[in-house]
Amino acid sequence: MHETDALIIAGRTFASRLILGTGKFPSGLAMKAAIEASGCEIVTVALRRVDPSAHGDDILDFIDTERVLLLPNTSGAQTAAEALRLARLARAAGMPNWVKLEVTPDLRYLLPDPVETLRATELLVADGFTVLPYMPADPVLAKRLEEAGAATVMPLGSPIGSSQGLQTEAALSIIIEQATVPVIVDAGIGAPSHAARAMEMGAAAVLVNTAIAVSGDPAQMAAAFRGAVEAGRRAHRAGLVPRRQLAQASSPLTGFLEGMGS
């Protein structure tokens, strides 16, 4: 096993496998402290929150883009066309060519639209974007998105902001097994243990926002997630022992039979 275990997305290397969302924080400073404590190298920002003409502090003022990759997201888009317009707006404003694609017409649970997400991925890839699509945990859709040129797939663990953990675990394991691009579990991760579990399963990374932003101490929680993601990743690489229904002795009880005549 190599000591270096970098995450590679679209040819770019990242040492951290934790990605942070930037909504819901009580202040820009609290968000900044959490980003630092998390050790993350990718943060995603809703374009609808960005205001270059802001009088006071804008959300981007608290993100050190020398150290982390700013990943604009298309939160608010309900169709492929809207997502495309938003992404182009971000690029025109000088933001990176990468986009976290979110197409969520359902405004209660913010569940991604599989049809529009696929269409948007095709359009964005054709337009030269590096596309990281947020998607329902559907293994076939994951393959379709890969074929469309997605740089990663980002299936949800449970509805965004719900902190319900990996409700889609069975589907996630199929997606991870079949993937040829990094699988980033996005949405629903409410506790470090959820993140560790996703990493143990073989996810390439996890994206966390609510669990950190609304905790009593965002920086502490960010550090906790950092540890959990690293632990889960190490466990995955070391190889988890399969779960069994029955106990199994460490020293076999029937060893004496070996070498005896039948």
Partner: protein
């Protein structure tokens, strides 16, 4: 099926009675239920229990649950917006409103460039979300006039809402194309008899035309729809029950639009009646908690109708959007004039003072949370 049919089939008086009769055991059960509810009937049953006198005795518990749920769902952020009154011309006779046809106020409709000057002041104050408000005058405040104003203001704001006379679906479509993303339309009261008592003349007399406005707007592509009852006109519990039913119905039928609920209380206005059914501060707080617990993903809006200390308290219970520094007379940001306002503003703090107070309370004031390009407007 329209919401009108749902409302007609709902016995609000019976639901109100259930609220008044709710027992401590029922309050316990309602508090331990998961947020939200699978069916409208169950939702109303739970809400009724939470707005009853028995639940009022457990207000601190309600508040703690509502606060935790709000922080989890919406984060420690409050979105700020400002109303921009473009006209106080009105053909309606509404006995509680300062813009009512009989009211002796000075009538003004802002020329487009004057509206733009108002807008520039709001922009300088930091606002990126604006709500255009007007009286109901189909000739002077026509759809065409509103479209012209919206087009002029479009480059200045991330989000433009309207709180104007209900439009035909085509009218909403024109306004969406011009750059409107948000509609606010309060039913005032869901009690038809009371509605008829307060709306004596003009188009607004037509209860059902107003009731169906959110549905028409959603079909026309309005992305955010705000509803509410003007608290104080009729029994607040009955109106709150109808509001919850309306919000939940819209969420299910107009699922591509975000639904918000406002809790405006009737304020003093020129030549207008006092609130016939006053709502106490404690009742308002209980209502905000119950709305949050039963509609966990609905934005709750509070205007400057309420005084600063009450607003500061209520925002922790479940409010997600606040107006600030509001003037309720057309042209009032440039030239304040109390002889033409819709109602008295109670929270007189400047937008900067409100933002500073939010930070003090541990909330991030958010001025921009939308992007005009999302609905095709550059």
């Amino acid at each position: 099926m329209t919401f009108q049919a749902v409302l007609e089939a709902t016995d609000l008086a019976a639901w109100r009675r259930r609220a008044l009769d709710a027992t401590a055991d029922q309050v316990d059960a309602a508090l331990s239920a998961a947020p939200g509810a699978p069916a409208l009937e169950q939702l109303l049953a739970r809400f009724a229990v939470l707005i009853g006198p028995c639940a009022s005795e457990r207000l601190e518990t309600l508040a703690a649950r509502a606060h935790a749920l709000t922080v989890h769902r919406f984060g420690r952020v409050l979105q700020l917006y400002a109303p921009l009154y473009v006209s106080n011309e009105c053909i309606d006779t509404c006995t509680y409103c300062g813009f009512s046809r009989e009211s002796g106020i000075r009538r003004i409709t802002l020329p487009v460039e004057r509206a733009a000057r108002e807008a520039e002041i709001l922009r300088r104050d930091g606002f990126r979300h604006v709500l255009l408000v007007s009286g109901e005058h189909p000739r002077i405040v026509s759809t065409g006039y509103l479209v012209t104003v919206v087009r002029r203001l479009r480059p200045l704001f991330a989000s433009i809402g309207i709180e104007v006379a209900p439009q035909y679906e085509d009218g909403y479509r024109e306004l969406v194309a011009a750059g409107v993303d948000t509609l606010v339309v309060y039913q005032e009261t869901y009690d038809r008899t009371a509605y008829a008592r307060y709306h004596l003349a003009g188009r607004k007399k037509n209860f059902d035309w107003r009731l169906a406005a959110p549905e028409r707007a959603a079909r026309a592509g309005v992305k955010r729809i705000g509803i509410g009852a003007l608290l104080g006109l009729a029994d607040w519990r009955a109106d709150a029950l109808a509001t919850v039913l309306h919000a939940a119905w819209l969420q299910r039928h107009c699922w591509r639009s975000v639904i918000t609920v406002s809790v405006p209380r009737l304020r003093k206005a020129a030549g207008a009646i006092d609130a016939p059914c006053p709502v106490a501060d404690r009742d308002l707080a209980q209502l905000v908690c119950a709305l949050r617990l039963c509609l966990p993903d609905v934005g709750l809006v509070l205007s400057t109708r309420e005084a600063a200390p009450l607003r500061d308290g209520l925002l922790r219970l479940g409010i997600t959007q606040l107006s600030a520094g509001s003037r309720t007379e057309p042209g009032g940001y440039e030239t304040p004039a109390e002889d033409s306002e819709q109602f008295e503003v109670a929270d007189q703090r400047t937008p900067a003072q409100v933002a500073a107070r939010l930070r003090q309370l541990g909330y991030d004031p958010v001025w921009k949370d939308w992007e005009a390009t999302l609905h095709g407007c550059a």
